[in-house]
Symmetry: C2
Subunit: 337 residues, 2 copies
Amino acid sequence: MRICIIGFGSVGQGVARVFTMKKEIIKKDYGLDINLVAAADSSGAAICPDGLNPDLLLETKKVTGKVSKYPEYGVAGLSGMDILDQVDYDCLIEVTPTNIEDGEPARLHMLKAMNEGKDVVTSNKGPLALTFSELADAARENNVQFKYEASVGGAMPIINFAHETLSGCEIKSIYGILNGTTNYILSRMAKEGSSYDQTLNEAQEMGIAETDPTQDVEGEDAACKVVILANSLMNMNVTYDDVEVKGISQITPESITLAKKEGYLIKLIGEVSPDSLEVSPRLVKEGSPFAVEGTLNVATLKTDLADDVTVVGRGAGSIETASAILSDIISIWKMKK
Amino acid sequence: MRICIIGFGSVGQGVARVFTMKKEIIKKDYGLDINLVAAADSSGAAICPDGLNPDLLLETKKVTGKVSKYPEYGVAGLSGMDILDQVDYDCLIEVTPTNIEDGEPARLHMLKAMNEGKDVVTSNKGPLALTFSELADAARENNVQFKYEASVGGAMPIINFAHETLSGCEIKSIYGILNGTTNYILSRMAKEGSSYDQTLNEAQEMGIAETDPTQDVEGEDAACKVVILANSLMNMNVTYDDVEVKGISQITPESITLAKKEGYLIKLIGEVSPDSLEVSPRLVKEGSPFAVEGTLNVATLKTDLADDVTVVGRGAGSIETASAILSDIISIWKMKK
């Protein structure tokens, strides 16, 4: 399988690292030969039909900051669309930064790949939250695979879990802690009795919260994931604007203490149900699967047959997110066989 | 797909109920036409090549206690082996009661089916805990499918989850609360400060613990599941005797209180790792995915790429367990296509 990666930040580099780690075992276990024929970042690309060396690619990026400096096969100044025009590949890994304004350039990259008969794997929430049905339709019309496990909760594999493992069940609704940063902040506030601002500062110093934390703390990131889950697991046809969103910046230590006295915790919960698309702070019971601390993500699927089934996993991380992308690649390969 | 169910207790009846509920949707979604050609209990069988009516079968069992009283197509006095000789079928659902002494008669039923080229789905822990490799080898040699999701934790779908959804990851070790009854007892003791004996009595009155609770409270049930997970997810070749087992009957309210003061709970944990096969009471942190209450089951897979991934679900229940069997059937069907 000839693979083209567009975007070579934390996730793209994780994918390259995972290819190195897993190349042999995947060949042995699944008969799948992964051939990385192109990798692109904002500087340009490295392109080699016989396959790039992932280690050399990572080293080049680390030292120079640019994949286009890759020895012999580096090309500066190409755009993502240029690369998709020039490279022969089977599967696009679209891992450019999430843009929740208009989903570009990821949306155009994915549509172009699909229209040219290529499979697509992505971790990119933006285009999925804005134009899910356009992308799903393009995949269907062109008879290609479109997989996006990594877009929701990194290494909390909820989408393939519902599609594959719970194939006999209907999903009635979904509740989840879909953002690790806010879970970290709320857990610390509950433990230390500290204020929101103080805890946010601390999380920023530790690199858990971003310098501009808006997307996380105002619930926008979780809302993107709500949209993706609604479309992919419950056949809804919704976009970002359909979600009611409330963040955690108004939560006080007093309200957390009050909840705790009654055996509850406050968590930022995303809900997908036929009547409601919502992200908001809610009470969850101590001793329930939602009472997890730290940066963990959780999602509970309410099903018709299996009752509630819950998955807990790391919501972020370079290698963790790349593992979800690798599972998608293997799943595409299995479908082709 | 022509299906033969052997065993028509709680799980077998759940399967029949699920067939009624899901027949149309499964045909529509997967093109799979489920045809229940035989169902057996200790009284004999109901056999009809054109398909039994699951509702009539359930009604017959409810009113008479015997599937052999099924109108027109009931046959009294047949053994499981007789039925497998007489019936034309594609897939055996083996759901007779678990026997952890010698695994019979389930072991013989499954081996016979496999040797005659039939796929097998089971919820039966006994033969899996005693002779896993014999059954796995027979499936491989006869090139048939062998699925047993329901044998570990009913509707906590951990096996297919690891095989399908986490296909890119290596499982390094597994930790789990694999028995719902003991989780219920320990959770109640922690909450109420009550003694083990008192809480066990209460659980028995509620039907959560059996009259003879040995298999649950002494860790035998969890140990069977440890064996199944070790063989199926970590390619070990082990049986029940390889597991060190300690139950919960010695746990005092004082030890639970002491743990709680330090932010810990006591849970009965099954561990599968290269160095250890063990069931024993252990401390788990409050706020961790293991801190769940009630009869829930939990399993955490420690993986090389995705870090820790946890699944939480109902460990028992007629329909819940049947849902795992249905997922196995759909998975077999997908492999055949």
